[in-house]
């Protein structure tokens, strides 16, 4: 029973308390770049959930059964980034063959994810936190969920901002950064959950 509760704690912590974008600053590039429309950002979020969960699982298996027993811990950065890059390619090919509908929805975002630092960040954090296989997968899923939540919320706000009359200097990046700051303050409220 206690095992189940700790998994829920990991999900809540990963998605809300330590939100990957708003409190850890991972995946900022896509957070700022691909958040002008709710629809596209939701698709990107879906692709991230998909890749991040699988990547966490594979990275954990590799670390536990290959890198750690051989004493090659210091190679983790190189191995993980290659695994993620290869994984993204495989997922892309697999989706193209088996589920063209899903590929249509997520396809264009998959190559972007290779350089999304959130994916590599989660894989490295899982090792630092000493998570086991199940915990890593759950943490990967939770983090991706938090990422999706943040990017969809920001996109929702930006769609509305587009229609409002802003002073010229604030247009573009500044207003997006201000929105992100306010969202970050709101997410602070979750810190009491931990």
């Amino acid at each position: 029973m206690s095992g189940d509760t700790s998994l829920i704690v990991i999900i809540v912590t990963a998605a809300l308390v330590n939100n990957v974008v708003l409190s850890q600053f991972l995946g900022i590039c896509s957070f700022l770049g691909v958040s002008s429309q709710v629809k596209t950002s939701a698709s990107l979020g879906g692709a991230v959930i998909f890749v991040m969960t699988i990547a966490s699982a594979v990275a954990n298996l590799l670390y536990t059964f290959v890198l750690s027993p051989l004493g090659l811990d210091y190679l983790q950065t190189i191995v993980f980034i290659l695994v993620i890059a290869a994984l993204v390619q495989i997922v892309e090919m697999f989706l193209k063959k088996t589920s063209p509908g899903l590929y249509q929805a997520l396809g264009i975002f998959l190559p972007l994810i290779t350089t999304n630092c959130a994916v590599l960040g989660v894989a490295l954090n899982n090792v630092t936190d000493g998570y086991n296989f199940i915990e890593s997968v759950v943490s990967g899923f939770g983090t991706a969920l938090g990422y999706t939540l943040a990017i969809v919320l920001l996109a929702g706000i930006r769609e509305n901002i587009d229609e409002s009359d802003l002073p010229a200097p604030v247009k573009g990046a500044p207003i997006v950064l201000f929105c992100a700051a306010l969202m970050g303050i709101a997410f602070f409220g979750f810190s009491s959950l931990s």
């Binding site: 708003l22 409190s23 850890q24 600053f25 991972l26 995946g27 900022i28 590039c29 896509s30 700022l32 770049g33 691909v34 002008s36 210091y74 190679l75 983790q76 950065t77 190189i78 980034i81 290659l82 890059a85 396809g107 264009i108 190559p111 972007l112 290779t114 350089t115 999304n116 630092c117 590599l120 960040g121 490295l124 954090n125 630092t128 010229a168 200097p169 604030v170 247009k171 573009g172 990046a173 500044p174 207003i175 997006v176 950064l177 201000f178 992100a180 700051a181 306010l182 969202m183 970050g184 303050i185 602070f188």
Partner: protein
């Protein structure tokens, strides 16, 4: 020598990665809680950037075009591992406060971006200076950001108390939301002064401009506009 100075000027002023290009945002926001952290991060990134530019420029004619990106990633990841091991050995404290952001230099858009945009197409020496310029630009950018956050958020600069004792620090600025806020204010002031930056394009477009995955997206048909511009 002229090209070298031009590359350095370009990196620091014309294409400043932080304020103009808005690249490498993750470490830029995450480690700017203090000036010390920012300089540590800046120097590590510069070291990787200079070395990767030189190595990639050296091997640029050997790498087949199809495996360009994986090859670049492996080179960068190896260099980052070297930096990480050096940090663990000699700068224990700094390494602890920068944490996961040191290995994450691998996916810093600036490094892959410069490799793709400059080192793959140019001789070794200009690439070296391009790396130095961009690295300095990044270091200066994040140090400015860290200076304001630390000064107003903690009342100190690089750990030394500078604000008078009656000043009550604004805690929030050194916490997560403060990073977005301070960067937003700096860019707003720059906009008001009429310093044009590419960020409008970047944020309103599809986010591909200058991004390391640009080539990938172009293949997926996302950066058509950019492709056309490049051809023209």
């Amino acid at each position: 020598m002229n090209t070298s100075m031009e590359r350095i000027y370009n990196g620091i002023v014309k294409e400043n990665p932080v304020f103009i290009m808005m690249l490498g945002m993750c470490p830029c926001l995450a480690v700017t809680t203090s000036v010390t952290n920012a300089i540590g991060m800046g120097v590590s990134t510069t070291a990787v950037l200079v070395a990767s530019n030189v190595v990639i420029s050296l091997v640029r004619k050997i790498i087949p075009d199809e495996v360009r990106l994986p090859a670049e990633i492996v080179i960068v990841a190896s260099l980052v591992t070297v930096v990480q091991l050096i940090m663990q050995a000699y700068f224990v404290e700094l390494n602890e406060s920068l944490g996961v952001y040191i290995p994450l230099i691998v996916v810093n858009c600036i490094i892959l971006g410069r490799a793709e945009a400059y080192a793959m197409k140019n001789e070794v020496l200009p690439s070296l200076f391009d790396g130095i310029g961009m690295g300095l630009g990044f270091t200066i950018g994040i140090t400015i950001l860290a200076f304001f956050r630390e000064l107003l958020g903690a009342g100190t600069v690089a750990g030394f108390q500078v604000m008078p004792s009656f000043y009550k620090p604004i805690d929030m600025l050194v916490k997560a939301p403060g990073a977005f806020l301070v960067l937003g204010v700096i860019i707003m002031v720059m906009n008001a002064w009429g310093i044009s930056s590419r960020q409008a394009e970047l944020v309103s477009g599809d986010g591909c401009v200058g991004c390391a995955a640009e080539g990938n997206c172009a293949a997926a048909g996302k950066c058509d506009k950019k492709e056309e511009e490049a051809k023209a």
